[in-house]
Amino acid sequence: MAVLSFGQALKDALDVAMSKDDSVFIAGEGVGVSIHYDPNLPTHGLLEKYGRKRVKDTPVSEAAIAGLGVGASALGLRPVVEIMFFPFITLAADMLVNHAAKLRYLSGGKSAFPLTVRVKAGVSFAAGCQHSHNLEAWLAHSPGLRVVFPSTAADAKGLLLSAIFDPNPVIVIEEMLLYWMKGEVPDGDHRIPIGKARVVIPGKDCTVVSYGGAVYTALEAAKTLSEEGISTEVIDLRSLVPLDKACLLDSVRRTGRLVVLHDATKFGGFGAEISAIVAEEAFDVLKAPIKRVAAPDIPVPVSPPQEMFNKPSPETVIAAVRATVGKG
C-alpha cells in the first residue's frame, strides 16, 4: 500500500483504468497540458504516458465536452471527462441532466451511457462564487445520474475506478483542497462500491452525517465533543446517489440523534434529503430534533473572513451536537 496524495490517488485510478481498458479516454480543458504544473493534480503526466489519442485537451466548451462523453459512451467507450470548476457544470447541465441521465430511460432500456464526469469542487481558495459553488443537490435531484463525493485518498481512487467501470453515468465530485492531503491507498484495481457509506468513527450519543471535505470538520468537532464526554458517530456518505440509507438509519437508531453537515448552502440542500429520510423512517427513535449545519444561503464570498464565515466550522457542528444532546 502506497502513501499518496488525494490527487495522486485519482491519477492512479485513471492510470489503472486506462492501462486496463482501451475504451477509457479522458477529455477536458487542460487535462493534458495544464497551466498548473503539479504532480498532485489528477491528470498530471497522463498525456506523456497515454498520448494525444487518449488524453484530449478540448476547447473551452463545456456543452461539447459533456456531449463528447454522452455520445462516445453511447457507442460503448468509457469516457472520463473533466469539468474544471463545479459552477461550470451549469454549462454542461443540458447534456448531463437531459441526455446522460434520461436517454437510457427514454430508450426503454436499450441504450447505456457508461460515462464518468469528474468535477473539481470546493470553497476556501478565494476564487469567488463563479468558481466555488457546491451543486451536488442539483445533480442528485436528477434521476439517472449517480453522484459520488470522496473524502480520502483511498476512497478517491476506489470510487473513481468504480465510476469508470459503472455502466451508468456517474458524477465524481473532487474537493480540490483535498488534492494535497495524503493517505494510504491500496495498489492496483482497488474499487469502493458506489452506494456504501463509511462509519469514520463510532459513537453512541449523536450521529453526524457528512461527505467530502466537510467530514474533517465533523471529525474535528467530534474530537472536542469527546473531550466533553459526548460520543459522536461520524458517517461519511461517500455516495449521494445511490444513498446508503441502511448505514444512515442504523446509525441514527443507535444514537437517537442526527446532525447533518455539508459545505453547500442549506435551503433545498442535500442535508434536507438526509433529514427527511430519517424523519420519515426513524422518527420513533429520535430523542431530539434533527439539526442541519450548512453554508448560509448566499453565494461564496471572496474576502477571507467572509469566506471562512461561509464555510461551516467545527464550532457550528459542536453547537448543533450539544443542542441535540441537551447540553447546548
Binding site: K56, G67, M95, N98, S107
Partner: protein, 333 residues
C-alpha cells in the same frame, strides 16, 4: 449533379421510402383528430421527406444517425419498423421504447438510430461524441446529425462544430432549414439566410442543396459522406425545405403567409419525384399504384398492431433507469 446519376432501382426505392414516411405521417394527422388515440404532440416532418431519404440512402447500415423532435422520416429511412414506431407514438408497451419516449424521443439503436433529442441543439454535441468513438476505434463509419435552422441559434451547435472540425471527426451535420423556428421565420431569428455560410468559420465545407429534391440531396450526401469516411473531417449540409404542417398538429399557422405555404406545397418532394419518374418513363401509373397500395397496407398494419397492443403497466415506469449488470449487447461494441 443531375438526376441521371441516380440509378432507376434506387430512385424507386427512394420513392417508396418517401411515400411511406408521407403515408405514416398522414395517418398521424388522421389519428391526432381521434380523441385518445395518440399521446402528446404530433410533430411532423411532412414535406421534408427528401432530406431524410436522400441523406440516409447515402449511408451504410453501420453509420449512426442522431435525430431530433421531427424524427419520423429519419427513423423510417434508417430502417426502423413502422409497427413499433406507431406503437411508441400511441404510448404502448410494444413501442420501440416501451412507451417511455412517445413520438418525441424515439431511439432505435438496433438500426443505429442512436438517439433522438428534443432539446433543440442537443443533437450536435452528442453526434460529436459518437463520431469520436468511431474515429477512436478506427472504424470507417460516420455519424449524421439532423437539426433545424432554429437549432442553429443554440450555442451547443457552435461548440459541437468547432470541436468536430478541430479533431477532424467523421460527422455530417445536416441542417434542415425549413424556414421556421416556432412561430419565428428564418429572417426573424437569423441574419444569415444560409446557415451553411457559418461552415467557413469552423474550417469545414458547407454545401447548400435543394432539400425538396431527393436526387440532389442524395448525390451531394454521397460525396460528402465519402469525404467524412476518409478522415477529412466534418461537413455541413444545409437542405433548404419548408415546414408544411406547422410546428406540430396543434399549430394552426395563423402567422404563416398562405401564398408562401402554397408555393412550397407545390414543390412537394414526393409528388415531384413521382411525376419525374413517370415523365422519364421509369415507372408506369400502374406500378406507382401498386407501390402506394403496399405502403398503405403497411401503415394500416402498423396502426392495427399499435391499437391492439396493451399499454405498459403503471409500475413499469420504475424500470429502465439504471443498467443493473453490464451494458446492453447492442451498444457494447
Amino acid at each position: 449533379m443531375g438526376s441521371q446519376q441516380v440509378e432507376v432501382g434506387l430512385k424507386k426505392a427512394m420513392y417508396e421510402e418517401m411515400a411511406l414516411i408521407r403515408r405514416f405521417e398522414e395517418k398521424l394527422i388522421e389519428l391526432s383528430q381521434e380523441k385518445g388515440k395518440l399521446v402528446g404532440m404530433q410533430i411532423l416532418a411532412y414535406g421534408q421527406e427528401a432530406v431524410s431519404v436522400g441523406i440516409v440512402k447515402a449511408l451504410e447500415p453501420d453509420d449512426v444517425i442522431v435525430s431530433n423532435h421531427r424524427s419520423h422520416g429519419h427513423l423510417l429511412a434508417k430502417g426502423a419498423d413502422p409497427k413499433y414506431l406507431m406503437a411508441e407514438i400511441m404510448g404502448k408497451a410494444t413501442g420501440v421504447n416501451k412507451g417511455k419516449s412517445g413520438t418525441l424521443h424515439m431511439s432505435v439503436p438496433e438500426v443505429n438510430a442512436l438517439m433522438t433529442t428534443t432539446i433543440v441543439g442537443g443533437g450536435p454535441p452528442l453526434a460529436v461524441g459518437a463520431a469520436f468513438a468511431q474515429q477512436y476505434r478506427g472504424t470507417s463509419n460516420i455519424t449524421v446529425v439532423f437539426f433545424g435552422d432554429g437549432a442553429a441559434a443554440e450555442g451547443s451547435v457552435h461548440e459541437a462544430m468547432n470541436l468536430a472540425a478541430l479533431w477532424k471527426l467523421p460527422v455530417l451535420f445536416v441542417c434542415e432549414n425549413n424556414c421556421w423556428a416556432g412561430a419565428q421565420s428564418l429572417s426573424e431569428h437569423c441574419c444569415l439566410m444560409d446557415i451553411t455560410r457559418r461552415a467557413v468559420g469552423y474550417g469545414m465545407p458547407g454545401e447548400l442543396v435543394d432539400g425538396n429534391d431527393v436526387e440532389k440531396v442524395f448525390t451531394l450526401a454521397k460525396e460528402m459522406v465519402s469525404r467524412c469516411r476518409n478522415s477529412q473531417g466534418p461537413v455541413l449540409i444545409e437542405a433548404k425545405t419548408y415546414r408544411i404542417r406547422g410546428h406540430g398538429e396543434h399549430d394552426h399557422q395563423h402567422y404563416v403567409d398562405k401564398k408562401e405555404l402554397e408555393a412550397w406545397a407545390r414543390l412537394c418532394p414526393v409528388r415531384c419525384l413521382r411525376e419525374r419518374m413517370l415523365a422519364d418513363g421509369l415507372v408506369t401509373e400502374g406500378e406507382i399504384q401498386v407501390m402506394d397500395r403496399q405502403i398503405e397496407a403497411k401503415v394500416d398494419e402498423a396502426v392495427r398492431f399499435a391499437s391492439d397492443s396493451p399499454y405498459p403497466l403503471p409500475e413499469e415506469a420504475l424500470q429502465d433507469l439504471w443498467v443493473e449488470d453490464g451494458i446492453p449487447q447492442q451498444v457494447a461494441q
